[in-house]
């Protein structure tokens, strides 16, 4: 890359930002990756490689290589699926719902969140395909006209899932692209060399004419309006994979809201996890400020409290409902053979967020970073507990109660999923504006005559 994009504007780093500053700062994040970036990318690709290797073994020899054992028919793979779908949620929440709420602070962070969303769904989508027994027949779940005249079963929550996740992926991608167009145009106009060509193509001829804005704005609004119920529905549908089943500790009406809250919770945590280093490496301190982090933290706090409440309700209902299997299931979660998983989840998701009540913590980046990591771990563990542990502790049929031990095949493919996600994420942030240019400008005071001129 040439200097033009990377050259920082000479002006002072304090005071109100100018449009120009925003454009150049964001443009500055693109191109000339350093050694650190390549190390990260390399790590991600290696992880992905490991995952693919494990997957090949799995395809050749069968799911027996993973840790499954009757009655634990679902385990790490589905856990990862739910985990990644969950991660995906904050993206659309921040970009769509907060957009409808006209909360301005979103502008600085929503792009990262959205990118995260798209790639997280991409990752999540892989797991249902990996975990089925005959992966090569995955397309049988799709209603396509076939010689045998067979159709999928639309009563199956798995088919709902397929539709929900598919829709979610498509819509969030559309949403991301919509947001990107003006910004790509912005960096196009300051870029040179091959990037200029790339952006010239990907900007789809955006010039910011009144006609373009005229159609663009409402479309963006409608998309936000569509995405809002979607984001709430997707994880509800995912939760119904479990809530529709008879398994005690799955068969709960609270699951939909509980899962959605959990998803947004984990999503926000992940946004923080990603944003902290990003802000540092890309020197976005002035665009992404403490205020943004505090707001994210507040979101975490809210959703975290909901999750905490959900945990309590689960236990309460298990006791109050009086259904023995339900009760047994929750005793098992608390003091059973996998108590450690249960308590990791409780501590990370239900206890830690209470720290966020303190402004000191909310405004302390490193504290937030640490907490966000814990929340991520906790949320993964939550899904693991719900899926693997409650299946292992099958309460209806005492005779088949069994343990569960994950194997290299489980961990390998899980690691692969992280590699896959971060590979895409890293590739994106170095090549496309990771912070919205146009929308950040909306938050700034427009230059007027009389007002002091910058540059």
């Amino acid at each position: 890359m040439t200097d033009t994009t990377t050259a920082r504007p000479p002006e002072r780093a304090t005071g109100a930002m100018s449009y120009d500053y925003v454009t150049r700062t964001v443009a500055g994040t693109l191109g000339n990756p350093g050694r650190g970036y390549y190390t990260l990318l390399g790590t991600a690709v290696t992880l992905l490689g490991i995952g693919i290797l494990c997957l090949l073994f799995l395809l050749r020899y069968g799911l027996g290589l993973a840790g499954y054992s009757m009655p634990t028919y679902w385990a790490v793979y589905i856990t990862c699926f739910v985990f990644w779908v969950g991660i995906a949620h904050s993206g659309t929440l921040i970009s769509a719902i907060l957009f409808l709420f006209r909360s301005g602070w979103r502008t600085a962070v929503y792009r990262v969140a959205e990118v995260m969303t798209v790639f997280a769904v991409m990752t999540a989508g892989l797991f249902p395909l990996i975990h089925i027994g005959r992966q090569w027949f995955f397309y049988w779940l799709v209603p396509y006209p076939n010689e045998r005249g067979l159709w999928p079963n639309f009563k199956s929550p798995l088919v709902w899932d397929e539709f929900a996740v598919g829709t979610y992926f498509t819509v969030s991608t559309v949403f991301l692209i919509m947001g990107l167009i003006p910004d790509i145009a912005a960096v196009r106009d300051v870029a040179t060399g091959w990037r200029r060509k790339l952006y010239a193509v990907t900007a789809l001829g955006w010039r910011g004419t009144n006609e373009q804005w005229r159609h663009y704005r409402p479309a963006y609004l409608y998309l936000a309006a569509l995405a809002t119920p979607l984001v709430l529905s997707v994880h509800s549908v995912v939760s119904w994979d479990f809530a529709m089943a008879q398994v005690p500790a799955w068969h709960e009406t609270i699951f939909a809201p509980y899962f959605v809250a959990g998803a947004i919770y984990s999503g926000c945590a992940m946004v923080i996890t990603l944003l902290v280093p990003l802000r540092k490496f890309f020197q976005l301190e002035r665009i992404v400020t403490i205020r943004h982090f505090e707001n994210l933290a507040k979101l975490c706090l809210l959703t975290g409290m909901i999750v905490c409440y959900a945990y309590c309700v689960e236990y309460f209902v298990a006791w109050y409902g009086g259904a023995t299997p339900e009760r047994e299931a929750f005793v098992y979660r608390a003091v059973g053979r996998f108590w450690w998983a249960g308590w990791t989840m409780n501590v990370c998701n239900a206890f830690l967020p209470w720290l966020l009540w303190f402004k000191k913590v909310r405004t302390n980046i490193s504290a937030l970073f640490v907490i966000s990591i814990f929340v991520n771990v906790g949320m993964w563990m939550e899904r693991f507990v719900i899926i693997a542990i409650h299946l292992a502790g099958e309460p209806f049929e005492p005779f088949v109660r069994a343990g569960y031990n994950a194997t290299w095949a489980d961990w390998g493919i899980m690691a692969g999923s992280f590699g896959w996600f971060f590979m895409w994420f890293l590739l994106f942030v170095k090549n496309f504006p990771a912070v919205s240019v146009a929308e950040v400008k909306e938050e700034l005071a427009a230059p007027r005559r009389g007002a002091a001129r910058h540059a």
Binding site: N146, E147, R148, G149
Partner: protein
């Protein structure tokens, strides 16, 4: 396709030549006379160890299918006629033409050397499909073999006519308004 059309041509030719011959020899011409095949290489379908002519047996001589494939009517499997079944007739029947005689000799050798021929399988269903021949023949009659196997009686060398795919089975079941229950065939 191509070889198929050539077969048709070959058959037409053979008919043209053979029918008058039959007419000369007093007795009424049979409904169908198996053609004389000059070039077996161009025939449709896989080549068999013995050039067994269904068109001669089932077509020209009107041997009922169930004479050899007797178990099709009473069992789920049609089975393959034992060499004994062939030998039963062909100990006497020696064949009218040298080519016939040559093939029939193979049968006799198989019988004498106790070395049954290894027929090439033509009609096969995957192992997870169970097709009870007896029910279909019971329902459609002993002449109904052609529904799935094609008009074997007029095939010089047998080849697969019906696709034998599930959709094909189903279409017939729908048309005949019989069950479409999965566990009727898959178990």
């Amino acid at each position: 396709m191509r070889s198929g059309s050539r077969v048709a041509a070959g058959i037409a030719l053979a008919m043209a030549t053979s029918v008058p011959a039959a007419a000369q020899s007093g007795q009424p011409a049979p409904a169908f006379t198996a053609p004389v095949i000059s070039d077996t290489g161009s025939l449709h379908g896989p080549r068999q160890p013995i050039f067994f002519r269904h068109d001669v047996h089932a077509g020209q001589n009107r041997v009922p299918c169930l004479y050899c494939h007797y178990s099709a009517a009473i069992s789920s499997e049609p089975g393959i006629p034992s060499v004994q079944t062939c030998a039963g007739c062909h100990m006497m029947v020696g064949g009218s033409t040298p080519t016939y005689q040559a093939e029939i000799k193979k049968v006799r050798d198989a019988w004498n050397h106790k070395a049954p021929p290894q027929w090439v399988r033509i009609h096969a269903l995957p192992g997870f499909v169970h097709f009870p021949h007896l029910r279909h023949i019971k329902a459609l009659g002993s002449e109904s073999c052609t529904t799935c196997h094609g008009d074997v009686g007029h095939m010089v060398q047998v080849y697969q006519v019906a696709p034998l795919t599930m959709g094909w089975c189903i279409s017939c079941h729908l048309q005949k308004q019989v069950t479409r229950d999965c566990l009727v065939c898959h178990y």
